[in-house]
């Protein structure tokens, strides 16, 4: 909210500079987001006295004037008719640039020379009034800068971020002024019987004090129909805990005085007319939203009555801004017994508003249920200064201060006369009493604050205190709705006393060795391994679009959806990291020929009414040369599927690094539908001891096509929690091979669909314990035949093998491969 520092100064009596006040408030009270100087610039506008007025010879609508500006007498052509000889007026001299952008030049208007301009208010940037030249006070001194007679004050505007805890009391100038007073160690003197108006309106009334108007209105009746409200304030769920109506007569609708307009504008509110402006002015000052009805327009069969009731379902109301609302019975209405006049606490109706013909007004100062206001305005989508304040829950006792204040204001600015007031307030809110343990104050803040200091601070804040042993009974003012607990009071004490005075102190609590978060530290390790293997880490949003889900054939899986996404591209909550990884690849292929990327993150599945989150590691690889080219893709030939085998090797390396036994890992072919995210011919499930821990595969070229990726992409997805469980087995050391080993090579040709793993398994099976390892060193595909070549390493733990022994085993292996797998062994 925007605050005028002039206004704050006047209310708090502070002498501080705006900078100093800002610093104090920042450190002890509220966050000030901005500070802006508002300077009125009327350089070149001086007081002039009109000496002569003559008709313009060539234009009926213009006049020729001669104006005395002290050191000179100027001829000025003028269009307005409201001037008379002897009037003192603001004169903009030649070369002056006015606030509205006009630059004054020597001019010839229909043959007559003009050396300046007589100014109307709008030309000076003071509102919209263009009805005539602004006539200055007759005591104004000729030739002086006009600024001091224009009723303008330079000001500083504070933009203060009021958080919900202080929104009850500090969305008002009084609330912030109270803070300034307290911080300057002064009691804040402001109550409804001591209201002050700005000096220019005070006149003879300066010392007048006012109490609650004793006049009861004879014309108005007020009734609150909502039953619950009889039970008390907002907390009880009553929709209207108080309604004050005041009738003012003989109202003269006109512009507000300039000082008031300036203050409204300083707070970002557009001046409209003196009555509407007064409601806004008092709201800005005290924080109580007010409303004014035209009594004539709302009277029903010559009766003036206000009935507060719930709306009927589908009841309609046309608001001041001409929007039409359809209501339901949770909305609260102000009615005249029949017709709705206003959506309570949110916005007035179009038909009951003030206009230039209004003579008698009904002023409303009420208190509405915060939760209900919030629900209505959210559902109906109408947010106003008024609803903003009511939904923060304000003090019902504030209503009477506000009504007194607005009556006083309108007596000055609209010459209005009070007919009388009706106050319906079934359950008066009482101050809250809190028992404060003084030891707790010190324990929580970590400093010893003298008892005297504590009491002084609380009292300055308007909190009454009495001692009872080592406890303080604190009675909080009703305007501080936020103060309910000991901790609330301790915060008040701490901040006013000064958090900067609290010394940093080491913890005295015992340190207990922290448990290791296994999954997080494991994921950190996986990240290190991936980076070690040359992979770059991606952080992606957890969302993608419905189209992504379709493109990646994930639309068969139930997704969570955001109720209101930032944009449709981010509507679905991910069940796979792959779509965003594909987008990463697409983006980066603009700048890189090859890429290795990974992401560690969660996926989220709806599971009945619960949420299932899985932690995944995804690695993706694109090689410099492995374009999507269907013709070359052939069975069993790694040269045509380098991307896949490269990534598979990385996965095998990764599993080795986290101590998964090589013999427990298998890559199993899976049957996938043709439109699956993964390439149906180039994908495998990764199993460890029979448990599936993830997938590896190329992305389906059809999917790649949708993302316009022209190179093959291999991706693996691993479930990190499952991996963690498996990798937790301790490593068991195997004795080093002491005796020399013998390595033999064997190569063979396969005509059918023999798989490498079958050959490897068979060699091991036949060779038994003498075979230490079998490793493929070549494979290629030619003329419908696949050629495999392996190194086989033989050895025994306790002796040196003889060649003859190895020859015998090799012979068996050859026979086995020929017979069992039908391979042709190359000799």
């Amino acid at each position: 909210m925007k605050y005028s520092y002039n206004w704050l100064k006047e209310l708090s009596d502070t002498k501080l500079s705006p900078e100093k006040a800002r610093e104090l408030l920042t450190m002890h009270s509220l966050e000030i987001e901005g500070m802006e100087e508002k300077k009125w610039n009327f350089d070149g506008v001086v007081v002039g006295k009109i000496l002569e007025i003559k008709k313009h010879p060539n234009a009926d609508k213009l006049q020729l004037t001669k104006v005395d500006i002290g050191n000179d007498k100027l001829d000025i052509v003028c269009g307005a008719k409201n001037i008379a000889v002897e009037d003192k007026v603001p004169v903009a001299l030649v070369e002056t640039k006015l606030p509205n952008g006009i630059e004054i030049k020597e001019a010839e208007i229909r043959g007559e020379k003009s050396f300046g301009m007589l100014c109307a208010l709008d030309e000076l940037g003071l509102g919209t009034d263009h009805s005539g030249i602004y006539i200055l006070d007759s005591k104004a001194k000729i030739g002086e800068p006009a600024k001091k007679y224009l009723g303008v004050e330079d000001d500083t505007i504070f933009e203060i971020k009021v958080l919900p805890d202080r929104a009850h009391d500090a969305t008002s100038h009084v609330g912030v002024a109270r803070e300034i007073s307290v911080l300057e160690n002064r009691n804040f003197e402001y109550d409804f019987d001591g209201l002050k108006l700005p000096a220019s309106t005070r006149g003879d009334d300066r010392s007048s004090t006012r109490g609650w108007p004793s006049k009861k209105s004879k014309k108005l009746t007020v009734k609150i129909e909502d039953k619950k409200s009889a039970q008390g304030g907002s907390a009880s769920g009553g929709l209207c805990s108080r309604y004050i109506g005041a009738v003012m007569e003989d109202v003269e609708i006109k512009d507000s005085p300039s000082w008031m307009k300036q203050r409204l504008e300083a707070s970002g509110i557009r001046p409209i007319n003196n009555v509407v402006d007064a409601t806004n002015y008092v709201m800005l000052e005290l924080g109580q939203p007010l409303h004014a009805f035209d009594a004539e327009k709302i009277s029903n069969k010559n009766k003036l009555q206000i009935i507060v009731r719930k709306a009927k379902d589908k009841e309609k109301l046309v608001l001041l801004d001409e929007s039409i609302l359809e209501l339901n019975n949770s909305d609260l209405l102000i009615t005249n017994g029949e017709t709705p006049l206003a959506l309570a606490g949110i916005m007035g109706g179009k038909d009951s508003g003030i206009n230039e013909n209004t003579k008698t007004i009904i002023l409303e100062a009420a208190n509405f249920n915060a939760v209900n206001i919030r629900r209505s305005r959210t559902r109906l989508g109408v947010k106003t200064e008024s609803s903003d304040r009511f939904e923060k829950d304000i003090d019902p006792n504030l209503a009477e201060k506000a009504i007194v204040r607005i009556i006083e204001v309108l007596e000055h600015t609209a010459d209005a006369k009070l007919e009388g007031v009706i106050d319906v307030y079934p359950n008066k809110i009482k101050p809250c009493k809190i028992k404060l343990d003084l030891e707790y104050v010190d324990n929580l803040l970590g400093e010893n604050i003298p008892k005297k200091e504590v009491i002084k601070i609380l009292n300055l804040l308007g909190i009454k205190t009495s001692l009872s042993g080592n406890k303080l009974i604190a009675e909080t003012p009703t305007c501080r709705v936020d103060l309910k607990t000991q901790e609330d009071l301790i915060e008040e004490i701490g901040r006013i006393w000064g958090y900067e005075k609290i010394e940093p102190r080491p913890l005295t609590e015992p340190v207990i060795p922290a448990k290791i978060n296994e999954i997080l530290s494991f994921e950190r390790k996986l990240g290190e391994i991936a980076v070690g293997f040359g992979f770059d880490e991606m952080y992606n949003y957890s969302f993608y679009s419905e189209i992504d889900a379709k493109n990646c054939a994930l639309d068969g899986i139930k997704h969570f959806e955001l109720s209101s996404p930032m944009n449709p591209d981010q509507k679905y909550v991910r069940v796979s990291l792959v779509p965003n990884i594909l987008k990463n690849i697409k983006t980066n292929l603009k700048n890189f020929e090859s890429l290795n990327i990974f992401e560690i993150g969660k996926v989220y599945y709806p599971n009945n009414n619960a949420v299932e989150e899985k932690r995944m590691l995804v690695m993706a690889q694109v090689l410099e040369k492995d374009p999507v080219n269907f013709a070359e893709a052939k069975h069993g030939a790694s040269k045509n599927a380098e991307t896949f085998y490269n990534l598979k090797g990385t996965v095998e390396n990764l599993l080795e690094k986290i101590s998964v036994d090589e013999n427990s890992i298998s890559f199993n072919e899976v049957k996938l539908p043709k439109n699956h995210l993964a390439h149906a011919g180039r994908s495998a499930e990764i199993l460890i001891d029979g448990e599936k821990i993830g997938m590896i595969g190329e992305i389906n070229p059809i999917v790649l096509g949708k993302y316009k990726i022209g190179k093959r992409v291999a991706i693996c997805e691993l479930d990190t929690e499952k991996l963690l469980k498996i990798s937790q087995k301790e490593i068991v050391f195997k004795s080093l091979q002491k005796f020399p080993t013998i390595t033999r090579d064997i190569s063979m040709l396969a005509k059918g669909e023999t798989k490498a793993i079958e050959i490897q398994k068979l060699i091991k099976k036949i060779g038994g314990s003498l075979v230490l390892s079998v490793s493929m060193f070549d494979v290629f595909f030619k003329d419908g035949v696949t050629s495999f070549a392996y190194h086989i390493e033989f050895g025994a733990p306790e002796r040196t093998l003889e060649n003859k022994e190895v020859d015998e085993v090799m012979e068996k292996i050859v026979v086995g491969l020929e017979k069992e797998l039908g391979l042709e062994i190359r000799k």
Binding site: P164, A167, T485, P504, L507, R524, D536, K583
Partner: protein
Amino acid sequence: MLKEKIENLKKQFLAEIEKIRPSDEALFELEKKYTGRKSEFIGILKSLKDLSQEEKKQIGELANNTKNQIWEIIKNKRQEISENSFDAEKEKIDVTIPGKKKSVGHFNPISLVRRDIEDIFVSMGYEIADGPEVETGWYNFDALNIPKDHPARDMQDTFFLDAEAGEEKLSMRSQTSAVQARYMEKNKPPLRIIVPGKCYRREATDTTHDHTFYQFEALIVGENVNVGNLKFTAQEFFSAFFKQNVTVRLRPSYFPFVEPGFEFDISCTVCGGKGCRACKGGGWLEIGGAGMVNQNVFVSAGYPRNKYQGFAWGFGLERLAMMRYKIDDVRLFHGGDLRFVKQF
């Protein structure tokens, strides 16, 4: 007699090896001459069998030692020849030709910052906790003293899901604080945890805001935890993180799950608090929020009211990463551009 003979042979060898032009062939000849099968030396050794036991031992030892010395000298000489034949100039290469690089991976800077932070806290005895990112209304709001229909729910715009659990809609968690009640339900004080993690807020993105971000939160609960401790801990942490003395300043603020609540600033890490462009002349950098745990939060977690005291504080990892690496646009972290990631 034999002894003299051996010593003479040694002298003779030493004189001869000094005289020859050292080459592998000459050394081979020399070795053959003095210790070869037909050498005088071997002759001497063969004649030992005629001597007394005593002499056999004495002379035998001398002969053996001498033979070994000769071999040693020849070996050294050979080494010398080989070393002299090495000419570094002839082998000279251009060391400025680019090396054969391995492909090197890179962490996202958020990971780097997160690891540093975790290490500092773990060294101070904190456990790293975590929780779900799709959260229930209870943990994301109610348990944190943010009741339904309370204006505090507007303090962060939340991504709600089209799915309900219980009476309230599920949402993407808007703060790591959602883990507080989850952890406290299962653990009794004293406790000290940190919660790093991904959070979501429905906010328009610009150079300093993203709807997805990483938060970091520390929570300590015990019987005597106070504001002074909060200040101390924050100061220790930030001093360790920025590797310089950092002071912490608390300003009043409001978060429903703490009371009192603070904004905390740290002394500017660029100018040390004197005032510079980084801190807009004020000497302080706004970092995060903090406060003493609201008793309502303890009650929600199942602790008795007013038995424990604790503090919580948190901040955005992006902000720290941006400060550390002088990154000027928060959207880069989730932008997926390798030109960015590969710099770290």
